[in-house]
């Protein structure tokens, strides 16, 4: 039997799958349920200092090759969110707290508060492609990534994982900046800048016009990002983008990821996707002669 346990910057996981930020993680009840369904950890919705309604509907459009969304970072704010994290912890979930803000200070403040809720690590959403004026836009510069990471590292004693955007010329320069800022790991990738138009109505399909693309469409882009990043940094990488099967997860792991996150695949496969992924992963690893997940990390670089 293949040992599916893995570990990312000291965070121990029963298996390498995590719930990606933004999926069924606005409420503690849902996070508990996802953990019970088999995820190795759950990442919270990205939480900011204040409650935020997000964009008007339509916020989600299913396309042939992926999902387009512009939810606009709705969240109940860090204060109210304590209740949700507690509820998830009550079910035994391993929780990673995702945060955002408008500048380094806000990132640090929200992260510090999140840390007091007992989460195991902090994820920094530096990469939402459709929220104007937030840190997520500012963080399109290497300096900002380094600065925000450092600011958060200075106030929490948890592992910090900046989550990077693929909407850049070379994602590895951002990964290096994050590492310089003291990051304990990198999460890649967030959604790609995208748009759909409904010709019958002569208008964009999202109320916000623009949105972020996720799902199968972006998997090859994410795998490449992870592969490239792993050649440039010495900290673990968590892969995300279009993962819906054990095979998909192994693409990321062999590209160098220590763990993976799953989001859009929940639409087609439901919460059973986590067990499905770990089962298929175990069987493929066994076929390929591996006894544990860590043995397979990065083997495609050989």
């Amino acid at each position: 039997m293949v040992d599916l346990r893995t570990e990312v910057a000291g965070v121990r996981l029963r298996n390498p799958t995590m719930l990606a930020s933004g999926f069924l993680d606005e409420t503690g009840g849902s996070m508990a349920r996802v953990y019970e369904a088999g995820a190795g950890a759950v990442v919270t919705k990205s939480i900011g200092p204040q409650p935020r309604e997000g964009y008007p509907n339509p916020t989600i459009v299913e396309l042939d090759a992926g999902l387009l969304n512009a939810v606009g970072l709705p969240n109940p704010g860090i204060v109210e969110y304590e209740r949700e994290v507690k509820r998830a912890h009550a079910a035994g979930a391993v929780v990673i707290g995702s945060v955002f803000g408008k500048d380094a200070d806000e990132y640090a403040t929200v992260a510090a508060k999140m840390a007091t809720y007992g989460v195991k690590a902090i994820e920094l959403n530096l990469s939402c492609p459709h929220a104007k004026g937030l840190g997520t836009e500012i963080a399109q510069h290497e300096d900002a990534v380094q600065e925000f990471t450092r600011a958060v590292k200075d106030v929490v004693s948890l592992p910090v994982f900046p989550k990077l955007s693929p909407n850049v010329q070379d994602i590895t320069t951002f990964a290096v900046a994050a590492e310089k800022g003291g990051a304990d790991g990198i999460v890649a990738i967030n959604t790609l800048k995208a748009m759909a138009i409904t010709p019958e109505l002569k208008m964009p399909s999202l109320a916000n016009r623009f949105g972020g693309l996720s799902g199968p469409a972006i998997r090859p882009i994410g795998v490449r990002a992870v592969y490239d990043i792993c050649e440039k940094v010495h900290i673990p990488v968590i892969g995300v983008g279009g993962i819906g099967s054990g095979r998909d997860a192994l693409e990321y792991i062999m590209a160098g990821a220590s763990a993976v996150q799953v989001g859009t695949a929940i639409i087609s496969k439901g919460l059973g996707v986590f067990n499905e992924i770990t089962k298929e992963m175990a069987s493929l690893l066994e076929d390929a002669g591996f006894r544990s997940v860590p043995e397979a990390i990065g083997v495609a670089h050989a």
Binding site: L24, V61, T264
Partner: protein, 258 residues
């Protein structure tokens, strides 16, 4: 293929001073109790129950807030976007069914009422509204069985809330199941009375929705999602719920009074 279909409205029918039915042809199935996400271009996208399931589908919408008010001005030929059908289905259990509808809640139940009657069940419907002119689908329900009416102001039928009317009916006759849809406090009362009388109940809940497909967590009720686990829940599922009848989530995900 995109999942959104844009359809022209074939017909817009006024049901009550505040409620309209919109008919359209669409390439989708749909069973009693299921809903569509309805895109009102430039305004909003909202969950709406299928009130007609045939070749020409229909939704029946109360002019309630910003977007539904815009929709109220739509005419035949105007286009809406739809995706779905989503959600679970009202299931026939036994032979005698009591349907308890409040306000626009009848829109979610009427297809079940018709379908259950067609399957041979005896369907008794208790319809409630503020006043007589706000009663919805009384004739369609009547054509599928027996109808009892309650109005808050007594302008027609029983004066008072529809759960009280329903209780009378349950005391009078042994039903095999109760269906209900309407304001949540009303449904809570119906669920409680059905439980008291040991009648199985299916309640169709409403929550603010974004995705409709089980990812955004906007519609959660305890650890259930109204869009994919519901909208229809049984008394057993709602038993012990901290949220049902008490709390809902606002657009930011905050838990607020229902």
């Amino acid at each position: 293929m995109p999942r959104i279909q844009v359809v022209p409205l074939l017909e817009v029918v006024r049901e009550t001073p505040t409620t309209m039915t919109y008919r359209f042809r669409a390439d989708l199935g749909g069973q009693p109790g299921q809903f569509l996400m309805v895109w009102i271009p430039r305004y909003d996208e909202l969950p709406m129950a299928l009130s007609y399931l045939g070749a020409v589908k229909g939704i029946t919408v109360r002019d309630y807030g910003d977007a539904t008010h815009i929709l109220a001005a739509f005419n035949a030929g105007d286009r809406i976007g739809i995706r779905g059908p989503y959600g679970n289905v009202f299931r026939l259990q036994g032979e005698k069914v009591l349907a308890v509808g409040g306000g626009s809640g009848m829109a979610s139940m009427i297809a079940a009422i018709e379908s259950f009657a067609q399957q041979g069940a005896r369907v008794v419907t208790a319809v409630g509204a503020k006043a007589a002119n706000e009663l919805l689908f009384v004739e369609r329900a009547n054509a599928s069985g027996e109808v009892h009416i309650a109005t808050d102001d007594g302008s027609r039928g029983f004066k008072g809330f529809v759960p009280a009317l329903a209780e009378k009916l349950v005391e009078r006759e042994k039903f095999d199941q109760v269906l209900t849809c309407g304001p949540e406090r009303m449904m809570k009362a119906v669920v409680d009375l059905a439980r008291k009388h040991h009648v199985p109940v299916q309640a169709s809940l409403e929550r603010y929705m974004k995705c409709g497909i089980g990812i955004c967590d906007a519609c959660s009720l305890d650890d259930q999602l109204v869009c994919v686990d519901g909208p229809i829940f049984t008394a057993e599922q709602l038993e012990g719920s901290e949220d049902f009848g008490h709390f809902r989530r606002d657009k930011s995900g905050r838990r607020v009074a229902a």
